[in-house]
Symmetry: D2
Subunit: 356 residues, 4 copies
């Protein structure tokens, strides 16, 4: 239980370091018979990839995925789907200067505290490059859930103090911030440029939504759908908070207003007239849209000089070089989608065993 696996029935195991030979994932438990090919995976990997714009870091790798197993004649066979992406563009020498120093906000110190030493090149396994495996596996989950019409998408809803007021889905992939508000998007882009000039970085919030999720997904009492979503999101590098539906705003609401009244929807199914619950009641999906927000901290790698210590605890000054994002938000979007997809795929399969 080294911690690199996720899920119960739709279960993934990721591997790989930022500057090692490759990163990848094994998906075990995908049902047989699902049409699947490399382009299905590549699309989401390309969305995750760096170098797409000035918003993200300059490291430019094609991130071409190769499926090693689990697919035969264009369909999944029910056996493990191994997917590998080679690391082709790693400049490890950037890290030699700081291998004995602990970068503030990074996992260098805690990694040493845990394992006694670490692969310091690009953060090793604590690098966001680790999310390649998540996104590849999430693409399989997306294909699987697509068979029942589930659709998952995400966007940057907040950058620093800038907040999207409109959610125009068509706008999301049109701007480098993946902001759904066409008026706010250019402001976000400008703010990122400013932060870059100031050698600083910016935090923000990504919102993830899932539509057409059937009611009944989620297992009482610990494997609640929202509990597993919470774990999924907080396992993403840089995420420091997660909320469902009304989230932290419920603290200031009264029950009479927060409760979502039940009604019969036009399609004849039971629904609610509001959705403060974010599509989950008692840990089980209600059929309403699932709404999740995750808060991402400003990237720890900034080009400013910072105070720190070396491995012996002696004070030192550090300047982090390398290719770094001034904000993680645009790249967090496909990763957050992937994690929600993985949770939903897993619980959709688990639900098959719920009733006689």
């Amino acid at each position: 239980m080294g911690g690199s696996s996720f899920g119960t029935l739709f279960r993934i195991s990721t591997f790989g370091e930022s500057h090692g030979a490759a990163v990848g994932v094994v998906v075990d438990g995908c049902p047989s018979g699902l049409p699947l090919a490399e382009p299905d995976i590549q699309h989401d990997l390309d969305r995750r990839r760096v170098g797409q714009s000035r918003m993200t870091s300059a490291r430019n790798e094609p991130d071409a995925v190769r499926i090693l197993s689990g697919v035969f004649e264009g369909r999944t066979t029910g056996t493990p789907i191994a997917m590998v992406v080679e690391n082709t563009n790693a400049r490890s020498q950037d890290y030699d200067a700081i291998k004995d120093l602990y970068r503030p906000g990074h996992a260098d110190y805690t990694w040493d505290a845990k394992f006694g030493f670490r692969d310091y090149r690009g953060g090793g396994r604590s690098s966001a490059r680790e999310t390649v495996g998540r996104v590849a596996a999430g693409a399989v989950a997306r294909k699987l859930l697509g068979t029942i019409g589930v659709r998952v998408f995400a966007y940057t809803v907040q950058l620093a103090h800038l907040r999207a007021e409109r959610i125009d889905e068509a706008e999301i992939e049109r701007n480098p911030m993946r902001c759904p508000d066409p008026e706010v998007a250019p402001q976000m882009v400008a703010l990122v440029e400013q932060a870059r000039r100031e050698l600083d970085s910016l935090g923000g919030i990504v919102e993830v939504r899932a539509r057409s999720v059937p009611p009944g997904l989620g297992e009482p009492v610990f494997d609640k759908l929202d509990a597993d979503i919470g774990k999924a999101m907080l396992s993403i590098p840089a995420v420091k908070g997660v909320e469902i539906g009304a989230g932290f705003d419920v603290a200031q609401q009264r029950g009479s207003r927060n409760n979502d009244p039940f009604t019969r929807r036009e399609d004849g199914h039971i629904g609610t007239t509001s959705n403060h619950a974010g599509g989950i009641l008692g840990g089980i999906s209600s059929g309403e849209e699932i709404v999740v927000r995750v808060a991402a901290k400003p990237p720890a790698s900034i080009a400013q000089e910072q105070q720190t210590v070396n491995q012996s605890g002696d004070p030192a000054l550090i300047t982090v070089k390398g290719r770094h994002d001034p904000t993680v938000l645009p790249r967090l979007v496909p990763v957050a989608e992937a994690m929600l997809l993985l949770v939903l795929a897993d619980h959709w399969l688990r639900q098959r065993a719920a009733r006689l």
Copy 2:
């Protein structure tokens, strides 16, 4: 994998419905040799118990725990510790009137959607009474972590718009809201009374802290310490959001300010001069205080008439009777402590396998 188990090495399995024969838990994986007796458990169960004050519902059960196994001559043996609390004071007839109606904000509908039917008495297993098992198991974890000096405590940091400005630990258990600010506590009490008179309920935020946690706990990349804490907290009934350290505030911070500079502490160990990270870096404990906040929604059970549907989807009006809390916050405090304790105990044991 019905979902009622939690943890990897320190693993608990809870059982029981609100109005069934009993609730309880089996703790498997507690190391041998830990001094343990029923009073160790009873103390936290009493803190969780209802009927302690006017803040909480009127259902009054002694909740006396009985240890059935796993302890011999006052010490744990390494075998499963089964603990049972009988249900002695359940008034199931309160629920007959609404067994065919879906209470807004409750799990009635989603439970039916999942399992086809439900134990409607008091919410059955979706009742907060389920948390008895968590608190009992958490008390074992508290005893275990006490052997290395770890201390976990929680308090109500916010009720509706009222926010504790001071954290006076000694104050927490002195007032019925478990508010650490002696000036704000009576205001919270008054607000709860007002909400009760208005047949309404209130949300809020509980803050949980863990001190003297050794650095190195948490497993990259999915079983990060904060990921498992997130799951633990979001599995608690009524919780809709969780954040670590600066949490959602990181969205508006810059890296230059959010990064916690490393320093050599007075005890010679490496620490940080601030703690925006909340004691966790890269998913691994840093040795700084762990700080978690959870947002709890206003209880769904309110005495006002509400709009809903019956099991056939026909519109109906519902008035929820029974004994209900106008706020869950004071009782959430020991439950949130328990969940953090369970995560820490589990990762403390897992950490033993990290190095050669």
Copy 3:
């Protein structure tokens, strides 16, 4: 992961020591809607119980099961089913004399080596009394599998050198050895009486069969149906070997004879004209009868004086008192049935996730 849980989707967690307060089990993952009541459980518990005849030990406990949760209005709800049997007739003083000595063939020494100390009363958790929880959970699995017509039964096929030549199912429960051969059964009974007089004990073999198991159960490559059966059986106290179908005899067979030719059965389904495979091919059920044999050692507790050491390693002589079976076989029958039922129930649920 203390080791007291078994199964993936149909998952049980047992607890309890021989001379503690109670033994029991929590079954998590049983689908909702299954009719279940205490008599369903009690029947198999009574078959497991001691004191049924002179074949088994004289400890006489009613072993009355109490269902604490998971059943509402006569049906399972999908939540954990907790079942408890109180220990009412434990004579712990029998063990005071030998608490510092290691009984040969028992787990006393290895338990101390592992945990540092042990509950020495009646073997504590290493006692066969632990199997009460297995049998109770197995009875739930039996009820569940009964809904699709699966039938599991077992019998004593060999005691020492005596081997049943005929399998007359109706005979099994008619004689105290649960031997299916009416001619061999009385010989077995006489041999047990002789061993008892000689203060000795006897080994043997139990055969377990499952009929009407649907094809397709079992997961490649580690969770093969036979692999999980093997684990299930070898986890039973006293079992030292397990084989499937032709078992160890395959060592002396040739492929041309061992391969089971495929054919179309009278019911139109595909079957085989022989069943050396024991109903499992490539780890997946074939639809043919599943046949498993388990070898049980002669009980370690014998009234003869034996050579051993004390906890310090000093030589000592030991005479094991207490109430002990001269053979475990009759009681192994319901336990082996239970373990096969648990594996089949689990894999039946797992199979639901195999295909799109």
Copy 4:
């Protein structure tokens, strides 16, 4: 939980089909700091490889392993170790003729019954080529356990009626049958040649031993050391039986003879004067040598014409072409070693959490 993972703390996930792009494994949970390089893995892979002699099939692949992650500067980092072996020499066209027929003794039919279709090329994932991942992972476990002096080795103890009477360890790797008896080895070789000429195949028994295993490994009650060994062995293709120590012979023994008397060994530790238990008492290692035997069926692929059915159930005759072993025994030796190593490594890590 697709079934392709094994272990709890030292956990492996294998992937790959016989005629797919590659086979491999991800090892998660190996402690940091272990010296490891590709030659450590390659040695055991070479022992498993086909084409070593006339005893085994003619498919000749170098099976060169590539470590993709988890090792930095020659030591494990505590992160997942991904290892891949490309498939370079697959002649899939051999299988076109029989893709609609069910080969007797193979998993073709059960695989279709489970998944609806299958990768028929070389048995797909049901091929013994799947064991490459096991052996690679086992080599890591061997290195890990070597740090505490544990040594695991295996050999062919029986082929058809031929049984090794002497165990000369030095002899094992000197003959193609891996038979430890220099007199019996050539007889075995001759028998294999004869079977090959007769277009038939042979079963047999492999014995696996582990020395210097510390006492205390194994978790009561389901994760007993022997239970996990049983599962490990029965998950290997072609294995139909497993026994520990005296194994099935215990059926004919009396307790007075089968019990192993305790004694103080020359090194001062507690041991036993005999070892019928095979080094495991009550599911926990005793410190004595662990002895396991596994029965392997004669390979199902024989060149004789056999009776079968096609996918529609119509009768057919089949002649299995391709490159096949007349016996699996020599190649089973390193696979059985690997599985025992994996179980021991896992339980060695689990044992670290047993005591306060």
